[in-house]
């Protein structure tokens, strides 16, 4: 599978490239494994894979600092891995086990990590957008110099609450980056069929929020755009919109046959634009790594993912008395 040769001469170190490669590959292999476990009946319900979109979270996370916060939708496995959550805990949540981040009570769509400032994992399209602005509200209120990231898709971009949030975030100059992951399909409805104006990065114009579109298959471009957005927020100038143009290779969820697009369309994306292949190519042509080096990385990541899967299979189901815990916090 040959990626299109990248024309830019990136000013990026070998270590950086290698870390992006590893992080993106981890997400991809993790998701493939999740798909496999779903097929075996070990993961139930809805399971939304992130395959194809890896460069978005890896690029954004590369620009963040400690204490920055993030919140996203139900297509959340990649975000959790990219912000440093343990693949074992994530996979065990997918299998609904005690060792999962939510003790098995949240599932694929509802996972959180206070430690990593990951605020979910939300199953209702668009609901995470005001929540993300609320995280930023708290930081501003407390006088922290932190930035929050509210990720949502091209589908959620048409939700009313998004615009209510844009208005207040701009009015109150909240340090929040709205990351629109435009993967071109809201479940089965293409952007063209759902959005009166397909240029989503301009959606903040009526609220004086600057926006920018970026190639979401290019991790370096995403990182660069994120740095600019973060600088804007941290300097107290209010929110910023990044429309990251990306593509999901798999269906909306595991049970989506994806008949709304051709096999050729997906194949073309994979062959010409794949985010991991692009970095792989840079590593090889820049002589930063040999085929052997990359094979060793593949092997290491496969082992990490297999360990996560083993853990997720072996971790026991939650104790039955967990049914009645965590409904209320102690007053």
């Amino acid at each position: 599978m040959a990626a299109k040769k990248t024309s830019k001469k990136p000013n990026v170190s070998k270590d950086e490239l290698l870390s992006y490669y590893k992080e993106m590959l981890l997400i991809r292999r993790f998701e493939e494994k999740a798909g496999q476990l779903y097929g075996m009946g070990l993961i139930g319900g809805f399971c939304h894979l992130y395959i194809g979109q890896e460069a978005v979270v890896v690029g954004i996370e590369a620009a963040t600092e400690d204490g920055d916060k993030r919140v996203t939708s139900y297509r959340d496995h990649g975000h959790m891995l990219a912000c440093g959550m343990d693949p074992k805990g994530v996979m065990a949540e997918l299998t609904g086990r005690e060792g999962g981040y939510s003790k098995g009570k949240g599932g694929s769509m509802h996972m959180f990590s206070k430690e990593k400032n990951f605020y979910g994992g939300h199953g209702i399209v668009g609901a995470q957008v005001p929540i993300g602005a609320g995280l930023a509200f708290a930081d501003k209120y407390l006088g922290n110099d932190r930035v929050s990231f509210a990720y949502f898709g091209d589908g959620a971009a048409n939700q009313g609450q998004v615009y209510e949030t844009f208005n207040m975030a701009s009015l109150w100059k909240l340090p929040v980056v709205f990351v629109i992951e435009n993967n071109q399909y809201a479940m089965g409805t293409s952007l063209q069929r759902a959005s009166s104006s397909p240029e989503l990065y301009t959606r903040g114009a009526g609220f004086s929020i600057p926006g920018e579109a970026v190639d979401g298959m290019d991790v370096l471009a995403v990182k660069e755009a994120a740095e600019k957005a973060i600088a804007h927020c941290r300097s107290g100038e209010g929110p910023y919109i990044l429309e990251v143009k990306t593509y999901r290779y798999r269906g909306h969820s595991m049970s989506d046959p994806a008949k709304y697009r051709t096999r050729e369309e997906v194949q073309k994306m994979r062959e010409e634009r794949d985010c991991i292949e692009q970095v792989r190519d840079m590593l090889l042509t820049g002589k930063h790594a040999t085929e052997e080096d990359l094979k060793a990385i593949d092997k290491e990541i496969k082992a990490t993912v297999n360990d996560a899967a083993e853990f997720a299979k072996e971790s026991p189901e939650p104790a039955l008395d967990e049914l009645y815990t965590d409904i209320y916090a102690e007053a």
Binding site: M40, K105, I124, A258
Partner: protein
Amino acid sequence: MATEILMPALSPTMEEGTLAKWLVKEGDTIEAGMVMAEIETDKATMEFEAVDEGILGKILVEEGSEGVAVNTAIAVLLEEGEDADAAVTSSAPAASEETAAEAPSEAPAPAQAAAPVEIVVPDEPEIPEGTEMRPTTVREALRDAMAEEMRRDETVFLMGEEVAEYQGAYKISQGMLDEFGSKRVIDTPITEHGFAGIATGASFAGLRPIVEFMTFNFAMQAIDQILNSAGKTLYMSGGQMGAPMVFRGPNGAAARVGAQHSQCYAAWYAHIPGLKVVMPYSAADAKGLMKTAIRDNNPVIFLENEILYGKTFDVPVLEDYTVPFGKAKIWREGSDVTIVSFGIGMTYALEAADKLAEEGISAEVIDLRTLRPLDYDTILKSVMKTNRCVTVEEGFPVGAIGNHLSATIMERAFDYLDAPVVNCTGKDVPMPYAANLEKLALVTTDEVIAAVKQVTYR
């Protein structure tokens, strides 16, 4: 080592499917992500992608096969130089193990409590003998409670429409902007869905928001954030993070504002595990419960009433007067019948009790004060004494709080009942505007009296 390719589950409910078509053949080199086959589920034809790499050694299930159970081995993937038949034999048992693993684990024990989670609460702190009592309106009591808590805790703030410069649409936040400034008393645009979500996010990140809805009718714009984000996150995060916040505002009918502005949401919110629901009647309770609500680490729905705002009650002059959740208040002791109510319903309950006393009927009147947690014990104890019960509320009759109380009393005190419990509620109609019809739609003192006579066979 050879890898078995298993029939995948391709939907949440799939148990078997048809292997419609193989898109690869034996001997083909397989790469991860390659589409290998088409599989028909009960819903759709799905493409089945390879996860592992290798050479397709043997196809075990021919295309066109129907009713192939999930997790059946359908093909074998080989590494370079491996022998297909040997691999098939050696790995066959693995498939059945997988199938066994998928069988449901031990049947869950029957849930021991069908009733909502009970919460043990400490006794109400007694108001010390000789405490000065000051006549205060419910409006002032609510403001005092919020202001006291904001002085006590920097992370508490108030947001909502017209709460700051306008001093509150119903003047509940009068003077608060002056004292706390615009950082902590925040006017919002008219966007309930958005600001309820922003406040919920802020609560996840360590603040304690008080969200004022101009009325709870408008909170329906924000219902998803209240239920799904604020109400459920603690559970969904396995206890890692929740929403310590208060959603408050007037609820229920005011006067002559018609159907869209006159509805009681008590039963709606009381339905949701994860929320706490408060509906005070008196000013003292409004104050003590509001302070408890702001300190509580859970999302609290605080249902006020526009008509009660201007009513004056004695409020104890104490430095820190709080009222615990889950503890009903007995306003009047009696022996012939138990009248249970809350919020403005208490007006009719107490009035009815006065009139009934003149006729020689002794009614015990209980104010629930909080609907979640609910003080079942106080009600049951009273009903076991009086053997009769009437509930009073302003909300609609279907799925009313009174329905739930009736069911609980039937389940737990059936043998003590001398008459069926009667629920007095608002009528089963949208609120009409015309003065005479509006009066007819609301619950009345006369109806409560009639209900008491019904259960006491007078």
